[in-house]
Amino acid sequence: MSRRLDAVYGGGPVLLLGMLAAFAVSGAALVYFVQSGPLVSVALWFGGAIVLHDLVLFPAYSLLDRGAARSLGGAINYLRVPTLLSALLFLVWFPLILGLSEERFRNASGMSTSVYLGRWLAVSAALFAISAVVVVVRRLRAR
């Protein structure tokens, strides 16, 4: 019985049960999930997230990183680490940094999003400055 299942399905009964349970939970949730708004919008954000990450964001940062690594050689990490951290902060907080939700944010909090661009730039500058200090200290020590 188990061998026949393996032949047709490619796994044992435990795997089959595990998959049934997982798809039961995800499938039931999916039914409600797609009704949370216009189907186009829900599907676009669910599928779009995969496409945007796997086929846009990932290739873009990989190519940029590879290009930079080739032209900079051994010093790449002093640039790579602060760039990555700064880019990540932007990726997370871009609506505040760019003021995309200014009206809603002001209505909710009574405050403005205008401070965030400056704060992000300041944090980024600090990250690059720390990296520069590390380079200088290491170069001096190596002498």
Binding site: V8, A29, S36, I50, D54, N77
Partner: protein, 434 residues
């Protein structure tokens, strides 16, 4: 092709290219159609089962915490009471329970963890996806029915995890570039994720465990994540993990202060309620300004009356009437679903005293209505435990001064461990049910 040691499930997954597959296999060309589908296209010397296992183990701690605190927030909204429900009733409602009022910081802590840990986990999720991306281009696309189903569940897993993180992160910034209901999509999206996540952990745990416990052994195993012809390294694995860790810490440090408060709030430079909110007893954050919902001095002035209703009938009380009742003061946190919180000293009339006045001494429920005419959360229903708690107040003052208009003048609800949006501001009606 098997990537893991023979574990509980791992051994059964890959074993079969036999059986039903000849029909499927004849449909796909044997040679990869494009470079990414060839294993030697992937050149990073860092990828491998060890790196993925370290990232996976970290997420195995973080993701359940973020998930559980998220589900707790759903419970904290008391969707079973009155018109509180925002999310369509569904099969997972069996998990609901009465949200407690003890400890008072319960919601602040749980939602602070949900948001701050969620932010800190985001770079780890991205690194984890980077570490396994060659698997997206595996050839042939399916080796068996089980393998095809596993890949379908991975599409749900990756789609849902990105959806949850992206919508959650945009929500805390009040940015809604979509047409669906955020709360409902984020809640049911979480369950889509959890089904696929459970399967993924079940399938991969043995491999991860073996790779973490016996790093040498994992190198001897066929490592399907490792590049067969790697480029020379430009950063060590430790360097990569350190960078990912630094990214997590940076997001946590620039975010956590809005939940922890005190001097840490200044550190929360990029968080929506970080920095400062000025000086004075009413200088702490809000989630809804009076002007945004059309509540002005014309309706909150001397003419304002609280309509108190219950089995004993209806009475109208002015603010002076309420101030003449027994006043009580408590230090209580108010915590927003968006993750920030702040503890202040609130004073006012106990809800249970008002329940007694309304003829509902052991009040079962109270429906609270606001002067706010439109928009969400202009009414809420509180349960018996929340009415009975001595710290539950119709607050009139904060930090020994009158509430400001933005904080709910003339009167607002403050209940321990209750999500901020249910601590209704500008209260106009209280209707108790015995």
């Amino acid at each position: 092709m098997n990537s893991g040691p023979p574990g509980l499930l791992a051994g059964t997954v890959a074993g079969s290219i036999r059986g039903a597959m000849p029909t499927l296999r004849s449909l796909v060309p044997e040679d990869p159609p494009a470079p990414p589908f060839r294993r030697d296209f992937w050149r990073s010397p860092l990828r491998g089962v060890r790196l993925t296992s370290i990232l996976g183990a970290t997420l195995l701690v973080a993701i359940p915490l973020v998930s559980v605190t998220g589900l707790l927030s759903h419970v904290a909204y008391n969707p079973g009471l009155g018109e509180n429900r925002i999310v369509a009733r569904g099969p997972f409602d069996v998990l609901l329970f009465d949200w407690p009022t003890h400890p008072a910081w319960l919601y602040a802590a749980s939602q602070g963890v949900h948001v701050t840990l969620g932010l800190a986990a985001f770079p780890i999720v991205l690194a984890k996806l980077w570490s396994v991306i060659p698997k997206l281009f595996v050839w042939p696309p399916a080796r068996s029915v089980a393998h095809a189903l596993e890949r379908a569940s991975l599409a749900l897993l990756v789609g849902a995890v990105l959806f949850e993180f992206v919508t959650g992160i945009l929500n805390i910034q009040n940015y809604y570039p979509w047409k669906f209901n955020f709360v409902e999509a984020h809640y049911y999206g979480a369950w889509v994720f959890l089904g696929a996540f459970g399967l993924h952990v079940g399938l991969k745990f043995p491999t991860m465990w073996a790779a973490l416990r016996k790093p040498r052994l994992s190198q001897e195993l066929a490592d399907t994540l490792a590049a067969p012809a790697p480029d020379p390294p430009t950063i060590s694995r430790r360097g990569l993990l350190g960078t990912v860790g630094a990214a997590s810490v940076l997001l946590a440090v620039t975010g956590a202060g809005q939940s922890i408060g005190g001097p840490f709030r200044r550190l929360a430079l990029l968080a929506p309620r970080g920095g400062t909110s000025g000086d004075g007893p009413n200088a702490f954050p809000v989630n809804k300004t009076a002007s945004a919902v059309g509540v002005g001095p014309d309706r909150t002035g001397a003419s304002w009356r609280l309509e108190l209703k219950g089995p004993a009938g209806a009475v109208k009380l002015s603010r002076e009437d309420l101030l003449r009742l027994d006043q009580h003061a408590y230090d209580l946190p108010i915590a927003c679903v968006e993750g920030w919180s702040t503890t202040q000293r609130w004073s006012g009339v106990r809800l249970r005293d008002l329940a007694r006045m309304a003829g509902a001494a052991d009040g079962r429920e109270v429906r609270v209505q606001s002067l706010q005419r439109a928009g969400e959360f202009r009414q809420t229903t509180l349960g018996a435990d929340q009415i009975a708690d001595e710290r539950s107040l119709l607050a009139l003052r904060v930090n020994a001064t009158d509430l400001s208009l933005d904080h709910g003048f003339p009167a607002r609800i403050i209940v321990p461990a209750l999500p901020g949006v249910h601590c209704t501001k500008w209260v106009s009606d209280l209707e108790f049910t015995a």
